[in-house]
C-alpha cells in the first residue's frame, strides 16, 4: 500500500509538473497532458456502450497491434532462451555462431524490411518477424550469460548424479539462469513496443504504430502524444503482468529473508 502510494505520488507529481511546464511554454510540439487526455478519449473511448465505449479504432488498430506484439515477443522469448541456453552451455556453438549472431544483432531492423518483404508475407507475418528480430537479442544474450554462469559446484553435482540432459537443462541451467533471463525478458518487452512501431512503418494499414506515425506526419501532436502515452500505459501494464509472473517464478530466491538490501537498512 505504502509503496503503491509512493510510486503513484511521484508519477502524479511529474504529470502535474509537465502540465504546468507545457502550459507555460505553449509549444505546439508539446501539448498539455490534459489536451493529450482529451485526444486519447476522442480516439479510443468515445465508442458505443455496447463496445464498452471503445471506438472502432481500438478494434482496428490497437488490438491487432497488441496481438502482434505479444506474439512476436513470445516467439522471441522461446527462440532467445533456447538459443541462449544452447550457446551458453556449448563453447563450440558459441565459437561457430557467435560472430554471425553479433553481426546480425547490429543490423538495424528497418534495413531488413526489404529482405523480410521477400521472405515473408507482408502484414502480420512480416511485422511479427521484425519484432522477433529486434527483441530477440536481449533475451538471447542474457540467457547465454545466465547459462554460462551456472555455479561450478552445481555443475559438478549434476554431473556426478548423472542428471539427464533434459533435466539438467530444465532443472538446473534454466533456474540458475532465470533471474538473468527475466532481465532480458523485461528489456525485450518494452523493446517490442518500440519494434511494433518500427514494424508498422511498412506494409500496413492498421496498428497503433502506424496511427502514431500518421499523426506525427500530420503534425497532429496531441494525437501523436496520445499514442505515446498509450504505448507507455501498455508497457506499464505488460510489465506489471510479467513482474508478477517473475515474482512467482523466482519465489525461491532468498532475498526477502536474508538480503539486507545492499545499502538500505532492513526495516
Amino acid at each position: 500500500m505504502n509503496r503503491f502510494v509512493q510510486r503513484w505520488a511521484v508519477f502524479v507529481g511529474l504529470v502535474v509538473v509537465w502540465e504546468l511546464l507545457t502550459l507555460y511554454a505553449d509549444d505546439p510540439f508539446f501539448p498539455r497532458p490534459s489536451k493529450i487526455a482529451l485526444a486519447a478519449q476522442d480516439l479510443w473511448f468515445s465508442g458505443d456502450v455496447g463496445d464498452l465505449f471503445l471506438t472502432d479504432t481500438v478494434f482496428e488498430h490497437v488490438l491487432p497491434s497488441i496481438g502482434r506484439l505479444l506474439g512476436g515477443w513470445a516467439a522471441a522469448a522461446v527462440i532467445g532462451v533456447s538459443l541462449g541456453v544452447a550457446l551458453g552451455r556449448s563453447q563450440k556453438a558459441r565459437e561457430y555462431a557467435g560472430p554471425l549472431l553479433t553481426f546480425m544483432r547490429s543490423i538495424p531492423p528497418p534495413l531488413l524490411v526489404p529482405v523480410f518483404l521477400l521472405v515473408f508475407n507482408v502484414g502480420t507475418q512480416m511485422q511479427v518477424a521484425t519484432i522477433i528480430f529486434g527483441v530477440l537479442w536481449p533475451i538471447m544474450l542474457n540467457s547465454v550469460d545466465g547459462a554460462r554462469s551456472v555455479d561450478a559446484t552445481k555443475f559438478d553435482t549434476s554431473a556426478v548424479f548423472r542428471i539427464p540432459k533434459v533435466q539438467w537443462v530444465l532443472g538446473v541451467v534454466l533456474p540458475s539462469a532465470a533471474p538473468k533471463i527475466f532481465a532480458g525478458l523485461r528489456v525485450s518487452l518494452s523493446l517490442s513496443l518500440v519494434l511494433m512501431v518500427v514494424s508498422e512503418l511498412v506494409g500496413t494499414d492498421n496498428g497503433i504504430g502506424s496511427q502514431l506515425l500518421v499523426a506525427q506526419r500530420q503534425f497532429d501532436y496531441p494525437d501523436m502524444w496520445a499514442g505515446i502515452v498509450l504505448l507507455g500505459v501498455l508497457g506499464y501494464a505488460l510489465n506489471t503482468v510479467l513482474l508478477s509472473f517473475e515474482r512467482k517464478a523466482l519465489a525461491w530466491q532468498p532475498k526477502q529473508e536474508r538480503t539486507p538490501a545492499t545499502v538500505e537498512e532492513k526495516s
Binding site: D27, P28, F29, V113, P114, L117, L118, N121, V122, G123, L201, V202, G203, T204, D205, S210, V214, Q216, R217, Q218, F219, D220, Y221
Partner: protein, 312 residues
C-alpha cells in the same frame, strides 16, 4: 564536423552586402524532384546571388519541417500537403507560421502511375475496386491524387485499401502479390516497367489531378521577416535552376551523382514539370483536394502562406 560527416568548408563571405544571411542551410530529399537545386548549384546561380547553400539531406516533411521550425534548416524542400498540414495544425505558430517561397515540382502525365503485375487481372482503373494499393505515405499527395483519379474513373476510393510501402519496395511487393497494385514515382516506375514488365493501370496525375503541384520550398515567417533579401535572392537563383532543370542533358548526369541512380535508368525516367513561378491559384488546388478528402477540416486559403507569388 566529423560527427555530421560533412565537409568543413570555410564560409565564403558573399560580396553582396545587403544579404542578411549569406549561408543557407537547405533541406533536401534525395529524390528527382530537387534536381533543379543541384542544377542551380552546379551552374553557380546561388553564387551569383552571393548565396552559399549547404545541402542537408532529410528524409521527409515530418523531419524537415520541425528542423525548419527549430532553425537548423533555413529553407527546406517539402511536399505541399505537409506544409499545409503543418501550418493548419499550428506547428509553426511560434515562428510566425510557414511560408512557401518557391514552387518546386509539378505533376506531368506518366509520372504518378499506379502499376500492376503484367499478368494481373487488373487491366483498367475499374479493376482496382476492392483491391490493395501500395502508397508511400498515408494522407499525403499520393493518396489524394489516387483517390481523386479513382473517383474520376467511377471507383469508390473507400473500397480500396491503401498500404504503406517505401517506393523502393513497391516493385517487389507487386511482384510477389503482397499488394495488387502500387502507386509509384520515377525512377521506380521505369525500373518496374523495364525489369518486371509491370503495366500501367491508372495515371494518378490525369483528369482532376492533371498538372497538380507536388512540392516546393518553404521556410518560416520569422526567417522571411528577418531575411527578406536573402529570400529574394534564393527565389531568383532557384527560378533559374528550375528553368534549366527542364533540360534533360543537364539533369541526367546530376541524377547519377546525387540520387545514386544508375545511368541507364536516368536516361529513361519521366520528369515532372519544374515551374518557375509560384502561383497561388495552382497551389490552391492542393488545398481544395485536401479539403475534399478530409485532410483539412475547413476551407484554407494558401495565399496566406505565399511569399512573392504571382497570379494572385
Amino acid at each position: 564536423g566529423l560527427l555530421g560527416g560533412a565537409e568543413e568548408k570555410p564560409a565564403e563571405t558573399a560580396s553582396a552586402g545587403k544579404l542578411e544571411k549569406a549561408k543557407i542551410n537547405l533541406g533536401l530529399l534525395p529524390i528527382l524532384d530537387v534536381a533543379s537545386v543541384h542544377v542551380a548549384i552546379k551552374k553557380g546561380y546561388f553564387k551569383e546571388e552571393g548565396l552559399e547553400v549547404e545541402v542537408k539531406i532529410v528524409q521527409g516533411g515530418a523531419a524537415a519541417i520541425p528542423a525548419v521550425i527549430k532553425g537548423d534548416l533555413d529553407i527546406t524542400f517539402g511536399n505541399w500537403v505537409s506544409f499545409i498540414t503543418a501550418e493548419t495544425n499550428g506547428a509553426a505558430k511560434g515562428v510566425d507560421g510557414l511560408k512557401l517561397i518557391n514552387d518546386g515540382y509539378q505533376a506531368k502525365p506518366e509520372m504518378f502511375l499506379i502499376l500492376a503485375k503484367s499478368d494481373s487481372a487488373i487491366k483498367s482503373p475499374k479493376d482496382l475496386e476492392g483491391k490493395t494499393i501500395a502508397i508511400n505515405t498515408f494522407k499525403n499527395i499520393a493518396e489524394l491524387t489516387a483517390k481523386a483519379t479513382l473517383e474520376a474513373n467511377d471507383v469508390n476510393p473507400d473500397n480500396v485499401t491503401f498500404k504503406e510501402f517505401p517506393f523502393p519496395d513497391m516493385e517487389a511487393a507487386v511482384q510477389n502479390g503482397t499488394v495488387d497494385a502500387a502507386f509509384m514515382v520515377e525512377p521506380f516506375i521505369s525500373r518496374a516497367q523495364r525489369a518486371s514488365g509491370q503495366i500501367t493501370v491508372l495515371d494518378a496525375a490525369s483528369g482532376p489531378t492533371d498538372g497538380i503541384p507536388i512540392a516546393g520550398y518553404g521556410t518560416t515567417g520569422k526567417f522571411v521577416k528577418e531575411n527578406p533579401n536573402t529570400v529574394a535572392a534564393f527565389q531568383r537563383a532557384m527560378a533559374k535552376g528550375q528553368r534549366d532543370a527542364a533540360d534533360r542533358p543537364t539533369v541526367e548526369p546530376l541524377l547519377v551523382e546525387y540520387a545514386k541512380v544508375d545511368k541507364e535508368t536516368a536516361s529513361l525516367v519521366h520528369f515532372g514539370e519544374f515551374p518557375t513561378t509560384l502561383d497561388a491559384t495552382r497551389l490552391q488546388r492542393v488545398a481544395d483536394l485536401m479539403r475534399t478528402y478530409k485532410l483539412l477540416e475547413n476551407e484554407f486559403d494558401v495565399k496566406t502562406m505565399l511569399v512573392g507569388a504571382s497570379g494572385s
